[in-house]
Symmetry: none
Subunit: 73 residues, 2 copies
DNA sequence: AATAATTTGTCCGTATGTATA
DNA sequence: TTATACATACGGACAAATTAT
């Protein structure tokens, strides 16, 4: 389902939450999808995808190469 | 002549227009020039050249192998 | 046919400008 | 004014495909 543009929660936070959910549920077999794939799936810009990645990285939930690291979850 | 960096029209749109002009005037005998050639001619990055190609493709003016197709011009 | 060089496709890192809530 | 979001533009890296030798 698409992100909620009417929600006051920023899109990049919504995306961050979606990614965390899917990681927890093992939806992503190998890595988290590429920026391009997430852009296409959620109809958002690359910048916004990158903001979500930045947030995940800051929280230690995402490694440099975007393995599905479950650090401190 | 070089593209106009002071123009608010994006470089990739300016390039797209240049290519369309040259196609119309038969300047390109065989194919549209390679990415590298356009980079060197207009002093722009490869990404920008590719954006121009993407725009031309979206508008149905450029085929996969960049033949000078005059579709709907 | 086989190899080398070029071209293209894809992805990522970074920076800047604009618009808007 | 700041935070959010998007568009534009640069660059680099690498693999795959194409072309030249």
């Amino acid at each position: 389902m698409p992100l909620d543009y009417t929600n006051s929660v920023p899109l990049y936070i919504q995306l961050k939450d979606r990614i965390e959910e899917k990681v927890l549920h093992g939806t992503y077999t190998g890595k988290v999808p590429s920026e391009r794939e997430l852009m296409d799936e959620y109809y958002i810009s690359r910048s916004t995808v990158r903001q979500a990645f930045d947030a995940l990285t800051r929280e230690g939930r995402l490694s440099k190469n975007r393995e599905k690291e479950l650090l401190s979850l």
